[in-house]
């Protein structure tokens, strides 16, 4: 860095450095490098569960990683710093280039260099034809080849491929458009998830969702007003072949209605989201909800209905908790596993298939304070056992209820009766609004178009000079390929073709000397 600069010069110098091609290159490589940790360390936005597991496993590293923003790399200060610098550099690079391009667009092709034979593509010949005729013919030929042509001072200057730079500028500007579209989604959109048992529904409202992640500038008032009911759910399973046990297809039959009175039905499948207004609904999961009734010691129904069990593996072995805080004399809770196709494998109970072929539910029983009375919130999937006691059998083993649909079991100590009424299914739906997605898409498509122009349009300049000497005319041709790919063979072929046309036109074999 030069040392004797005043503040203003320093500023200009820094700006020039920032907007230089070399800086762009370094920033690009830095961006690539900076993106790596996000693929190694679990990311909050991608898999929050993995993040909490990781944090539990590495208590020492966690604070360090947290400070470095390694759990959300793509929102971190340092990642943002790199791409913001890159964008500034890009604007600083593109604006001046656009101005130059604007002038170049209207400029005339540049004058012929004094010594054409110095150029990499060069050819010459002599002819009896007059210099003016040669130049006129050359101008015609080059125009035919879509060159912009200018005749002056005994030479033809021609140029083509102006669109290459336009493509380059378009590409770089489009990168900014993509970024704007991407940011719009992050700021103004939302993502929500809800688990619905088949036969039930929800409306598009944050209070109805199990999870709701709004963008930082999201306005809940602007949410599309609609409701969706899951009427029915169909699933077919593969029962043979290497993918046996896998679901072949499933579809959720929805009824939907908007606040404006529109309504309809929709078969929701993977890859086929339902779009209502700007909001889209996706089917992302499914599982079982055993229907259980708990009658308490007083003979009152303390709990009755489907309870969502969450699958723990591909066989849909599912885990869940059923709580009856209203049961008297004691509160009652059940915790355990639902096996859609129960079998004993190696002496252990397990599910061998995802479909409910041989359903069985195996539950442990708890009594006492379930921790729900103080009004604090508690996950419906977790049982607070701190003040509850497990119900035991006479032999001291934990009491386990193994039930099939239709079974009813009386609990000991007058706690009541548990009845396994049947099985319902649930669907997990994701609801999201992603504004700016079309902006981003348009941005990449434009970028691609620009890129094609930038990479494949070959800007070329051709000059033809004719000088009359000693009764003959010496013709010099030269060309300059300004594309980064260069293609000497094609360039040479073009120059040779131009020369052939000129000579054929003059009907004169003359003497020639070619080199390229």
């Amino acid at each position: 860095m030069p040392t004797d600069m005043n503040a203003r010069e320093l500023l200009r110098w820094s700006w020039r450095q920032l907007t230089s091609m070399r800086t762009a290159l370094v920033l690009l490589l830095l961006l690539a490098l900076a993106a790596i940790p996000g693929s190694v360390v679990p990311q909050e936005d991608v898999d929050a569960l993995a993040v909490s597991r990781w944090k539990n496993a590495h208590p020492d590293l966690t604070p360090v990683y947290e400070r470095l923003g390694l759990f959300s790399v793509y929102d971190s200060v340092w990642f943002s710093a790199i791409y913001i610098l890159l964008m500034i550099s890009l604007v600083g690079c593109i604006l001046p280039r656009s101005a130059v391009y604007w002038r170049a667009l209207r400029a005339r092709p540049p004058r012929a260099p004094r010594n054409l034979s110095r150029l990499p593509e060069h050819a010459s010949y002599t002819t009896g034809e007059g210099a003016d005729d040669v130049l006129a013919a050359a101008a015609r030929e080059l125009q035919r080849r879509r060159y912009r042509v200018e005749v002056r001072e005994g030479a033809v200057s021609a140029e083509k491929g102006y669109l290459r730079e336009a493509g380059n500028l378009l590409f770089h500007l489009s990168v900014l458009v993509v970024l704007v579209g991407f940011a719009m989604g992050g700021l103004f959109g939302f993502k929500a998830g809800v688990i619905v048992t088949v036969g039930n529904g929800f409306s598009n409202n944050p209070t109805q969702y199990d999870e709701f992640v709004p963008g930082s500038m999201f306005a809940a008032d602007d949410m599309d007003g609609f409701s969706v009911d899951v009427e029915d759910f169909d699933i077919t399973w593969l029962t043979e072949g290497p993918a046996k046990g896998q679901a072949r297809s499933f579809v959720s039959h929805l009824d939907w209605a908007t606040a404006d009175g529109d309504s309809g039905t929709y078969d929701l499948r993977v890859n086929h989201p339902l779009a209502i207004g700007d909001t889209e609904v996706f089917l992302i999961g499914h599982g079982y909800a055993p229907v259980v009734t708990i009658e308490d010691g007083n003979g009152d129904v303390a709990y009755s209905g489907p309870t969502i069990f969450l699958p723990t593996d591909a066989t849909f072995e599912s885990f869940g908790v059923i709580k009856a805080p209203d049961a008297r004399p004691d509160q009652v809770a059940l915790e355990g596993t639902f096996y859609p196709t129960f079998a004993l494998g190696d002496g252990f109970p397990r599910s061998v298939f995802g479909d409910a072929v041989n359903p069985l539910m195996s539950l442990f029983v708890y009594r006492g304070d379930l921790g729900l009375d103080d009004g604090g919130s508690q996950s419906v999937y977790v049982l607070d056992k701190s003040q509850a006691t497990q119900v035991m059998q006479d032999d001291g083993q934990p009491l386990r209820l193994d039930m099939r649909p239709g079974d009813s079991v009386e609990l000991p100590d007058g706690l009541g009766t548990v009845t396994f009424e049947g099985i319902q299914r649930w669907n997990k739906l994701q609801i999201s609004e992603t504004p700016g997605k079309l902006v981003a898409l348009a941005g990449v498509v434009l970028a691609l178009l620009g890129l094609l122009g930038s990479l494949f349009i070959r800007p070329r300049r051709v000059w033809v000079r004719a000088r009359e000497e000693d009764g003959a005319t010496a013709v010099d041709l030269a060309a300059l390929d300004r594309s980064s790919g260069g293609d000497p063979e094609r360039g040479a072929a073009e120059l040779a073709a131009i020369m052939d046309t000129l000579r054929a036109g003059s009907g004169d074999a003359g003497t020639s000397k070619e080199n390229s």
Binding site: L49, G193, V270, N271, Y381, S432, V444
Partner: protein, 324 residues
Amino acid sequence: MTDASWETLSNQAVAAAGVVYFLALMAHLVQWASLRKLPAEEVVTEGRTAMAGRLGVLLTGVAVLVHGLALVARGMAADPNRVPWGNMYEFTLSGTFVVALLYLLLLRRFDLEWMGPLVVALVLALMMLAVIWLYDPVAPLTEALYSPWLVIHVVSAVIATGAFTLGGICSVLYLLKERSTKDRGYLARVPGLTSLDRTSYRMHAFAFPVWTFAVLITGPIWAHQAWSSYWNWDPKEVWAFITWVVYAAYLHARATVGWKGRNAAYVALVGLATLWFNFIGINFFSTTSQHSYAAPASVEQRSSYDAGQVPLPVPPGPPASPSA
């Protein structure tokens, strides 16, 4: 034909293609072994040596046909019939097919005869790797994979991968040749540095827009349909992005004075490394990728909301887009 016999046919065709590639490699080795004895300037257009070279190309052509047959049969073996890229085995078969095919298609236009032994050896090695370590029996795709975007996305990603790989071969040779002072042998005979640099650039210039299309257009469109979010920073996506950025850097490098040639070649090879790491490595290093290569009914946590809950099995094993 039954699905089972299609599958058998596919396996046999893979084996046959392997044998023919091997013979092609032998032919090229014979050719280059005798070329070693001659000064590099001497061009050989007839006699046994030239014959061996032509035979190598011819055998490569035959192998590519059989290789293509193996892919078609693989698709026919599935019920319902489908495109042959449901898992890493199939993707490797497709990728190597494209590398070999592109080489043959570009052979004349770019004077790639010298590349024959390298391409054939690479394809053969990758095929063997696929057969030994990656083989999976034919299985139907999970439902999420039945999307036209799968076809478009993967085809473009595979084509780009093939072209990047050919470009990478040129860059490796550039770096080797730059250091070599020998006046005979293989390195002396491959095209000059300028020409290698240019051929490499052309491969990359072709592959880069295709990759852009695959990774930044069709990938997000499909991801949006299947996963509700067009860009998730999933490890596979992160690495596809890294690859893209590195190749953008390569194109810049070539336009930057002082970076053309050697440094550009290094950047290109970094790009190639990220590309192949993304294809193979990520599947072993990352457990969170949604690009599961259609592991049957894989159990994965996909939404960010279920912290503290038990992971949900995703409905259909998510779109295992094998590429980016």
